[in-house]
């Protein structure tokens, strides 16, 4: 069940991504509608983070291409925003909460230029939206997991982008933060933004997302949440890895084979 849409914000065409020659995503083909909250769902090791990283060109594609707003990613960098996994950075870095959120303005500022007062105001605004304004001067190593996640979210908000990629924003955060984040995502959707979220909790998926991508090394389904989150499709996604697919991947790695002939 893979539903394609007209005038998509994101178009992924025949995307294969490999680590150390072993494909972790096989031939992904999907389109996402504008102004939707998209959940990317699948078991551990399904390649969820890999998919959004490849969409943003953080990982090289073995084959295929990605177009965002019908353009190559390099031309629309200022319209996209990324919320990485919390664990991907060293929180002992000498910076305050405000310093990190201010980084959201760096993309538009360009090289050499120092942030202006307007950028500082935007950063403060973003902090307020995630309820962290009183933490602005706090050293980032003193934050709890949920607070770290809010800071990353605020940094993305400060960018004022049109499409947001979020890697496990709900992982390991407290209930209050989870509620705050989902409220925020809904507001963003109402403003016509598209938010793509890597998510691991099936329970909340129906409630949170209006479009769902089911993934397990290959695309199992992509479509409106109520049509995709069915018993049968979920079993296909979570019912273990495809043994042959995994074995072929292993072979490619061991024999140092290329993923494509040319």
């Amino acid at each position: 069940m893979i539903i394609q849409v007209e005038n998509p914000v994101v178009e992924v065409h025949d995307l294969t991504v490999s680590y150390d020659r072993k494909p972790v995503l096989w031939g992904i083909d999907l389109t996402l509608p504008a102004g939707s909250l998209v959940g990317v769902i699948g078991p551990n090791g399904a390649g969820k983070s890999t998919l959004i990283k490849a969409m943003m060109d953080l990982l090289p594609a073995g084959s295929g291409y990605v177009r965002i707003f019908d353009k190559p990613i390099a031309e629309v960098r200022n319209r996209i925003s990324y919320v990485p996994q919390r664990e991907s950075v060293d929180w002992d870095f000498p910076a305050s909460v405000f310093d990190v959120v201010l980084m959201g303005s760096y993309g538009k500022l360009g090289l050499f230029k120092r942030p202006r007062q307007a950028d500082k105001d935007a950063a403060m605004d973003a902090l307020q939206k995630v309820g962290m304004q009183s933490f602005a001067n706090r050293q980032i190593s003193q934050l709890s997991g949920g607070q770290q996640q809010r800071v990353f979210l605020a940094r993305a908000l400060a960018q004022n982008a049109d499409i947001y990629f979020m890697d496990e924003p709900f992982a390991g955060v407290d209930i209050a933060t989870e509620t705050a984040i989902i409220e925020l995502l809904r507001t963003m959707r109402e403003q016509g933004k598209t938010v793509i979220v890597v998510h691991h909790d099936l329970q909340s998926a129906t409630e949170y997302f209006d479009w769902v991508v089911l993934l397990n090394m290959r695309l199992v389904a992509s479509g409106p949440a109520d049509q995709v989150l069915t018993q049968q499709l979920l079993e296909q996604t979570y019912g273990g890895k495809l043994t042959v697919l995994t074995k072929v991947g292993e072979l490619l790695r061991k024999q140092e084979f290329p993923a494509r002939e040319s």
């Binding site: 305050s96 980084m103 993309g107």
Partner: protein, 427 residues
């Protein structure tokens, strides 16, 4: 002493030059080193430092002169080559980065020593002084050399300040930097180039063997004093500058001494002092915090004890003798006496001819500790399903650390309870 005054009056133009040069070199390496440290590439800096030696020797052999620009060029080439080799080995084999660094460092340095020995035995008169690249000699920093190295040092400082925002971003979150369209590869290249240059100019003062200390130690020491990157850069620069001056001084007063080891000893001394005395993170301040905790625990335990005695007698202001207190709880007598007299000074208890008695303030504080103890016991039995005979030990510690806000939360969650799991009243 005479030498000291002579040096620090800076009357001699030569001394001025050497000092300015050393300070510039040390400052620029320290500032670049901050980013190398934050990027977690400290070991790479060490490898580069060792790898510039063959470059210096080759440049001399090929050109036959000690022109600083030519030597710098040679150093730069092999320094870079070592980095490329490390990257190549890590990406093309199963060898991990630390192993690759160790391999590259020793191979390049080995070749360097080989070449240096060959030059020294070649009978070329111009070679005298090349060995100063091994352990550094700040005092020989004069004339053309001084201008060349200082120029590079200034360039390094300016570039680092110019790219401050970009480098900070690269070190903190590389993936994010890429998504907002930063030329991440170019920036990485820039930082690597800065590191190589910092090493190349720094070896004049400290020598290749000890250069890593000049790059990393000021940054590591500065990190202890601040959580602000800008301040960290300034502090590292100051620490670098100080060690630079000291190195120049030593080199001037004891010409036979290599400068490197002295600079390294001084900068390491500063680092050790930082580890020990920096507020908050330093070793001494952590020790003090632990002592404060101990005192707090002792004092609150004594107040709690007096409160318990009061509960038994149903009168909280009865005096109790030292003997009664000691019987109630096994605390060493010396500690009890010290704790009691401290509490008296703070106004929580009074001493009467009949013994020690709680003041109103003391009763309140003792009551609070008892309340927290019993609340926590109740919380453990209700929320963690612990047996009621397993909760006392835990509550003994937790009763001292719960904040008023948490106390309020506990009261709410437990619905303002009256009795603890042992049916004692919660005051």
């Amino acid at each position: 002493m005479r030498e000291f005054i002579e040096f620090f009056s800076f009357a001699d133009a030569n001394i001025r030059f050497v000092t300015v040069g050393s300070v510039l070199l040390a400052t620029s390496s320290a500032v670049v080193g901050c980013f190398t440290l934050l990027r977690k590439r400290a070991l790479v800096g060490d490898a580069v430092a060792h790898a510039v030696l063959p470059g210096v020797c080759l440049a001399f052999m090929l050109s036959g002169t000690k022109n600083p620009f030519i030597l710098l060029l040679g150093a730069f080439v092999t320094g870079w080559l070592s980095l490329i080799t490390i990257d190549f080995i890590t990406s093309r084999s199963r060898i991990k980065e630390d192993t690759a660094i160790a391999l590259v460092l020793s191979v390049f340095f080995g070749i360097g020593i080989l070449l240096l020995t060959a030059i020294q035995h070649s009978g070329n008169a111009a070679q005298s002084g090349l060995d100063k690249f091994l352990f550094g000699k700040a005092a020989s920093l004069v004339g053309e050399d001084l201008i060349a190295f200082s120029l590079v040092a200034v360039l390094l400082l300016v570039t680092t300040i110019l790219f401050y925002k970009e480098l900070a971003m690269l070190c903190f979150d590389k993936a994010y930097a890429k998504t907002i369209g930063y030329p991440v590869r170019a920036l990485e290249l820039l930082l690597t180039t800065l590191t190589v240059f910092a090493v190349v100019v720094g070896i004049q003062a400290v020598g290749v063997v000890l250069m890593a200390a000049m790059l990393i130690t000021p940054a590591a020491a500065a990190r202890f004093w601040t959580d602000k990157l800008s301040l960290m850069l300034v502090l590292a620069a100051l620490i670098g500058a100080f060690s630079g001056v000291s190195g120049a001084y030593v080199s001037y007063t004891a010409p036979a001494m290599p400068t490197g080891p002295w600079i390294v000893l001084i900068v390491s001394m500063i680092a050790i002092l930082s580890f020990a005395f920096a507020p908050g993170k330093g070793w001494v301040s952590r020790l003090l915090r632990q002592r404060r905790n101990k005192t707090l625990i002792l004092e609150e335990n004594l107040l709690k004890l007096l409160y318990h005695l009061g509960e038994e007698k149903q009168d909280f202001h009865l005096p109790h003798s030292l003997q009664q207190i000691l019987e109630k709880r096994a605390i060493p007598k010396k500690q009890v006496s010290a704790g009691l007299s401290k509490l008296r000074k703070q106004g929580y208890i009074e001493k009467t001819p009949a013994g020690w008695q709680l003041t109103l303030q003391g009763q309140r504080r003792g009551e609070r500790v008892v309340r927290l103890h019993r609340l926590w016991e109740l919380y453990l039995t209700q929320y963690l399903q612990l047996a009621s005979d397993h909760v006392h030990e835990d509550a003994e510690t937790i009763e001292h650390i719960i904040t008023p806000e948490l106390e309020q939360r506990l009261m709410e969650e437990l619905d303002y309870p009256v009795l603890d799991p042992h049916s004692a009243r919660i005051p």
